[in-house]
């Protein structure tokens, strides 16, 4: 069978991947630069009998997919910074009530309306801490369309496995760029289906009693088990409780189920790191310029490597510490004022050796920008 090759935008790659992963319910609201995801699914979901809703705002979009997810559907919404800001309360609800969903944030410049049609990577910390209260979150990203495809499928798999919202942090450049994409054969990337309860009808059922591995085998709404779902702290029946031991136990469960698995949740790629003396650390569209820089400097004999992160949260501390160990310097390449830089500095043994190469003016960071920073660090001037 010939390869299914397409020449598409990153947004279309994401939407294609969502369908591959089994997406059958989507709700969204128009916003640049994510609208193509919504448009693509408005066209394709009805053709396969899936559900597409254009809601009245981004808040309603996330709320609607959470409701649909409870009935057992695989769900997604997509937005950009301003819409992602609006979604934060419902995001916390999905964390608290343990409802699988995928939220795509195609990042643009901010704050506020900012730069709607220009790239940015400045929502990294919003993805981590945008919703209130202590919590853990999974946030993934990718730098090219093939990776956007596989990481989108991974986002669904992780959401279903851990019954949690997963944030997919794309950026305007990757989202709007056209590039070759090979759609894998069905089944080539394994899909995770939601764990269902084996408790029979009529037996007292505890929807919020996690298994030893932290996973919840939940019944779908409309099934034989009727239970309560709430954003309040709740007991194993899902009924509100402010009993200190229950509050403590639930919060620890919600955080530990992800933070304790930071190592296995970590997706990343390495280029030329085996003998590297200096390391670029990047992600998303910035990693493309970082890779170009590494390949150019290698031709000149410089031992430069690249660590490209695809999992941003939980931050892969162990991997970053290990890969940065012994480097003369580590340069974090990103399009914000140092959001991942801070996490890297906290993770490494020698934070003084970690530098930032960034742009915050809406212009895509180029290999020349990165080279300038490299030369400054190397004491060669610009």
């Amino acid at each position: 069978m010939s390869e299914n090759v397409k020449f598409v935008q990153g947004n279309e790659a994401c939407a294609e991947a969502a369908l591959y992963a089994g997406l059958d319910f989507y709700a969204g609201y128009p916003i640049t630069p994510s609208s193509e995801i919504t448009e693509y699914l408005a066209y394709h979901l009805p053709q396969i009998g899936g559900k597409f809703l254009q809601m009245e705002d981004e808040i309603a979009s996330l709320c609607a997919i959470i409701g649909a997810s409870l009935t057992g559907r695989k769900v997604m919404t997509a937005t950009s910074g301003p819409g992602f800001s609006l979604m934060q309360e419902a995001l916390g609800y999905a964390i608290m009530a343990e409802i699988p969903c995928v939220i795509v944030d195609v990042q643009r410049g901010g704050p506020s309306t900012g730069l709607p049609t220009h790239g940015s990577q400045a929502d990294v910390n919003q993805a981590r801490w945008g919703t209130h209260g202590d919590h853990a979150i999974i946030a993934l990203t990718a730098s090219n369309h093939q990776d956007v495809f596989s990481i989108t499928v991974e986002a669904f798999n992780l959401a279903e496995t851990y019954r949690t919202p997963v944030i997919l942090l794309l950026d305007e450049l990757v989202a709007h760029m056209r590039e070759r994409l090979v759609i894998p054969e069905p089944g080539k990337i394994p899909l995770v289906d939601r764990l269902k309860t084996s408790v029979k009808e009529g037996v007292d059922y505890h929807p919020y009693l996690p298994r030893e591995d932290g996973r919840l085998p939940m019944s779908d709404f409309g099934g034989v088990h009727r239970f309560n779902v709430t954003g309040l702290f709740h007991d194993m029946w899902g009924f509100p409780s402010s009993e200190p031991s229950i509050v403590h136990g639930l919060l620890r469960h919600l955080v530990d189920k992800l933070e304790n698995r930071a190592h296995q949740l970590a997706c990343y790629k390495e280029y030329y790191t085996e003998d590297a003396e200096q390391l670029l650390l990047s992600y998303g569209s910035s990693a493309r310029s970082a890779l170009h820089t590494v390949e150019n400097r290698r031709k000149r004999g410089e031992r430069l490597g690249l660590l490209e992160l695809q999992t941003l949260w939980p931050f892969p501390e162990d991997i970053v510490r290990e890969k940065c160990a012994g480097m003369k310097s580590v340069i974090v390449v990103e399009q914000n004022m140092g959001q991942v830089l801070q996490a890297v500095k906290l993770a490494v043994d020698e934070p003084a050796k970690v530098f930032l190469a960034n742009r915050i003016d809406g212009v895509f960071i180029t290999p020349a920008d990165i080279l300038n920073i490299l030369r400054l660090i190397q004491g060669k001037g610009v």
Binding site: I66, V75, R226, N228
Partner: protein, 267 residues
């Protein structure tokens, strides 16, 4: 089935104050469901935040207690995902029409088959007695120490204008009518709005010198009348009770299925 078979007795006592009207609405709602002979498994009740929204915890259906004002958006997702389920959304006045006003008008506009029950006690009870968009003018509240200057929404007029295809109003005094109207609203295919005037003796009653719960319920008897009654003609200040709108128009989930048929044929 006995009414208590619809309740999660494990979670009682409930948190409502003595004299609160919300338990009366719950009573009327459960009697309506019992009369319709519906299976508990086919009912999903979705609520937001507030005193009224705690109703979901106490009933033995699939229950979803969500965030403030957004219950109808969650319910829209559940209904679209499983159109065969019956969606009932009890809301407070602030929940439905202040923070949730946008979702309220859009659910009505779509005419999606959801039964929205606005339990209107004209006050934010759970947070301690602040005025709501249904308090109306010259009301005393903890955020209106000099009396409110905010005009009120008329839930019925708003629901009609937004496109709801079943619109009704009653009060906790008229408990048989509560049950009767909610039953009809559940059977109606489309977006149904039932406003139930309910009493909050703790905050609204005390602050506004309306007496105790019994006095407040008596007040509903005195100040309301059936739609188009002679009493209304004589005293236009009376609030009308009954079914204002009951029309058959295309329902959203059914229309979506027709769109799916078109999409599958490539049209």
């Amino acid at each position: 089935m006995a009414i208590k078979d619809y309740l999660r007795e494990r979670f009682f006592p409930h948190l409502w104050c003595p004299g609160c009207g919300h338990g009366m609405v719950l009573n009327g709602l459960l009697r309506a469901i019992d009369k319709l002979g519906m299976s508990k498994n086919e009912i999903v009740m979705v609520s937001g935040i507030g005193c009224s929204s705690r109703i979901t915890g106490y009933v033995d259906f699939h229950t979803l207690h969500t965030i403030h004002g957004r219950a109808l958006a969650f319910a829209t997702g559940v209904k679209m995902a499983r159109p065969e389920l019956n969606l009932i959304v009890p809301m407070g006045d602030g929940d439905a029409l202040a923070i949730g006003g946008n979702h309220f008008i859009h659910a009505a506009r779509r005419n999606i088959d959801i039964t929205a029950i606005v339990m209107n006690n004209r006050i934010y009870g759970m947070t301690g007695g602040q005025f709501s968009p249904l308090s109306g003018e010259n009301i005393r509240a903890t955020t209106a120490p000099y009396l409110t200057i905010d005009p009120s929404f008329d839930v019925v007029e708003l629901a009609k204008a937004a496109g709801a295809t079943f619109v009704a109003r009653t009060t906790t005094y008229h408990i048989q009518q509560v049950s009767d109207i909610i039953g009809k609203a559940i059977l109606h295919e489309g977006f149904s709005v039932v406003e139930v005037l309910s009493q909050c003796p703790t905050y609204f009653g005390r602050k506004n010198k309306e007496g105790d719960a019994v006095d407040m319920v008596q007040h509903f008897k005195k100040n309301t009348t059936s739609i188009g009654s002679k009493a209304k003609q004589e005293n236009p200040d009376l609030i009308e009770r009954g079914i204002f709108v009951q029309t058959e128009l295309p329902e959203y989930c059914s229309e979506y299925e027709k769109m799916v048929q078109r999409a599958m044929k490539g049209q």
